[in-house]
């Protein structure tokens, strides 16, 4: 069964008939061809690599159907840099070597981007707690904490 949905992703409108069972993560990757949103678990919402923002709120796009995002605004990792300029958080990830393989990184950035808007002055413990929905296998997290802390400082 198909349904026509209209989803705005990074400011661009995608209006398309899709199977009702299509996941939002698949809509983003396959319909909108934005492959920065990654799938790292069996759609159980544990790894966090598919995290995007729906109307500004960080959500795991593998836990939503595309049809549930009908009429909503989605921001993906491709929408984080504005006019070709990295966001302070992205820049901090580069400066602090907060990524290695980079597979989990888009989800972490989309989560932490929202996190810093809600909590602009986080403690390290708060950053660590804010990251429990994102698994990273390479970094041991330390440099991610450094980057988020530094991005918060730069924003002040």
């Amino acid at each position: 069964m198909n349904k026509t949905v209209k989803i705005t992703i990074n400011g661009e409108v995608f209006e398309q008939s899709v199977p009702v069972r299509m996941l939002l993560s698949d809509f983003i990757r396959e319909v909108a061809s934005l492959t920065g949103t990654h799938i790292g678990c069996t759609y159980e919402g544990v790894c966090g690599a598919c995290t995007v923002q729906v109307d500004g709120e960080a959500v795991k796009s593998c836990l939503m159907l595309a049809s549930q995002a009908d009429g909503h605004n989605v921001t993906t990792i491709e929408g984080l840099a504005k006019d070709g300029k990295l966001s302070p958080l992205q820049q901090a990830f580069n400066d602090h070597h907060a990524l290695q393989c980079g597979f989990c990184t888009p989800g972490i950035l989309m989560n932490m981007d929202e996190f810093l808007k809600v909590n602009p002055n986080p403690t390290d413990d708060e950053i660590r707690t804010g990251l429990v929905g994102n698994l990273c296998r390479c970094t041991g997290y330390a440099h991610i904490i450094d980057a988020v802390r530094d991005a918060a400082k730069r924003a002040r």
């Binding site: 990757r29 069996t42 990830f93 980079g102 707690t129 296998r137 390479c138 330390a142």
Partner: protein, 799 residues
Amino acid sequence: MSTKPGANWVGAKFNRKEDHRLITGKGRYLADLSMPGALHLVFVRSEQAHAKIKKIEVSAAKALPGVVMVVTGEDIKTKIKPMPQPVVQPALAANYPKHWPLAVGKVKFHGEPIAAIVARDKYVAADAAELVRAEYEPLPYIGDPEKALADKSNRVHDEWPDNVIFQMTFTGGAEAEKNDAEVDRIFKSADVVVRQRFKTHRCGVTPMETRGALMSWDDSDGLTAYITTQRPHIDRLALSDILEIPAEKIRVIAPRDQGGGFGVKAPFYREPMLVAYLTRELKRPIRWVESRQEHLMAVSQERDQIHDIEVAASKDGKLLALRNRGVADCGDGCEGVYWGFLMPFLGCVELPNAYDWPIGDVKLKVAVTNKSALSPARAFGEFPTRFAMERVIDMVAKKCGMEPADFRRKNVVKHLPHTSITGEYFDSGDFVKVWDNLMNQVDLKGFRREQEAARKQGRYLGIGFGLGVELSGVASELLVPMESQPGYGAATVRIDPRAKVIVFEGDAPQGQGHETTVAQAVAASFGIHPNDIVVTTGDTGTTPFGSGTIGARAGSYFVSAAVMACTELKRKIARFMIHDLKVENATMDDFEFADGDIVFKKNSNIKKSFREMVERIIMAPINMPAGESGGLEHTAFFEAAKPMICFNADCAKVEIDINTGQFKILSWTTSEDVGQIINPQIVEGQMQGAVVQGLSNAMFEQFVYDENGQQLTADFENYKLATAADVPEIKVTHAPTPCPHTPLGSRGIGEGRPSSVPGTISNAICDALAPFGIEITELPLRPNQIWQKIQAAKKKAAD
């Protein structure tokens, strides 16, 4: 010209070149690649651990609209040559199980592929997989490796006489019997003897990106195969042998971006074989992207070992002899390159660790069972043996009445080079310097005072130590017998007419930062900027042969090959300088490459820009020095004369709540000898990540099979990885000794690094619980099990 490359970029902090695409969502991982008309392949996997296949009913799946093909083992067994094939078979004497990509006759573990669906849509392929019905006749589950070794009647591989895949004595060489008798004699007369069984659980380093393949076929060009792989050149040869396609008609490409590997992407697996076969059959592109559930059922499992260790020591704390009887559970063993047993094999080679053993008797038996074959995980095979060794060292120290730290310093290898009792060669370094640096960081005496005061308040603090001698690359001397593959590093350095440099490497990184590390080394060599260098990896169509990104080969072998190639090109450029500028009394060593210029050191007015010289040699090859030709490209192969190592020591401090068994890591401090650092942030990242992987393995992760061989941990809800909130801050410090056998003095680092972690944390916990006399001998470290040990100790004390 100085043959010693400029050091300005070597050791400099420089933001990674890989990052921009990865933080903007422009990375290109396997699942992000597309080919027009690509079909989707989904595997159907066995629901049973050990059973005869009576029938596989595929008609309903075939009838589903959108399904293009359904195959089972019976369909392919005459079309694909079975494994093993020589290129992915070690030169070690072992039983190598015959197998095809899909089960034939019987299934041997829960999760083994039994059929494959090819469909136009991945949702349809998944639907069709649900319609496949397999009828089984269950066979007894073989799950205990020790029982499997003893039981000849119930076998994993029917054609074998028993369940022994591999056994070996690692000590004594040709005189093993005499050696063992001498070890027996020492144990009979030794002042101190400790005997203990150590057991480590099945866990691994599952990467965040699962496996996958995307392939196309062309009747004239052959097969183009994108595979998530650490060793594209080996995959190419193996696919050629299995499918009988001439090797020159196969191009394997490891995607530029791979989401971690840690060893898991190093074997030659069944799944890409089948994707390749069907791509050729259908002459249409096929993609397979592994689900996380498949991944956790089929691969990423390692560390499953048992070691009965005995140590003899003198009462003044000198190690006299080591005896070990190891048993490993390697699963069904059906896995190209490693066959499940190479990890425990290397684990035993590395068992002696950094200690100076006069003699030893080390033996290993590896059993096949009805579980997935062990696949490599960083700290390859040695995570279990390091755990056992670091724990037993503490137990022996205690029995000698010595501080474990003092005992380590006393027994660590003092003079390098050194060959261990199992034949492992340690080329260079200063273990005592690394150790002393660690001790300067951690204030042991102060901690002991704090610990004593805390105990009076009912608080239990502990300190633990661990060491790790790790491979810095894998020398041919080890890799040829172990994997039938060469150890050398290879790099092609091509300078283009606009004076940019392209480096080609046949290995396939998965996040280690090769693009940056190698760019820094090459930039230092030519005196140009790392941004003027492009590093291309993993494409067998363009890169020189390499055995793969394994065993910390980048900082040792690959970088060294790239620097050697640069040196050759600099010599050529210098010869043109001497000729063109008519420089008198000059040798090639009289030119310095710095800041984009090439300067005659004896007279700095004589210089040319790097770009001018490059253009002249490539684009204007006239009026040349005698015997020269134009062009600037060189391929170098690096191999040190002997194997190389890096070294580290760890210290953890913990506090345990004895009412719950919960423990908190108060601090974690490391001391490293990584030789000459090329990029300090990348080195730090490797260490941070490795320690956390070690902790995650030791504390959280565990693959669980029930009594029928059902694997119960096939998702991240049940197979728990450490999160940011679970792990401590780690302080990384350095006490380097440059490696004398590489051009830059660099060492390969990172692969073995998690191995010292389980012993270090366990030693800290046992130290905290010393008043209860508790010794941890098994992993994982679960608070409930620590609590039970405390209860048992309290009860024993009360009785």
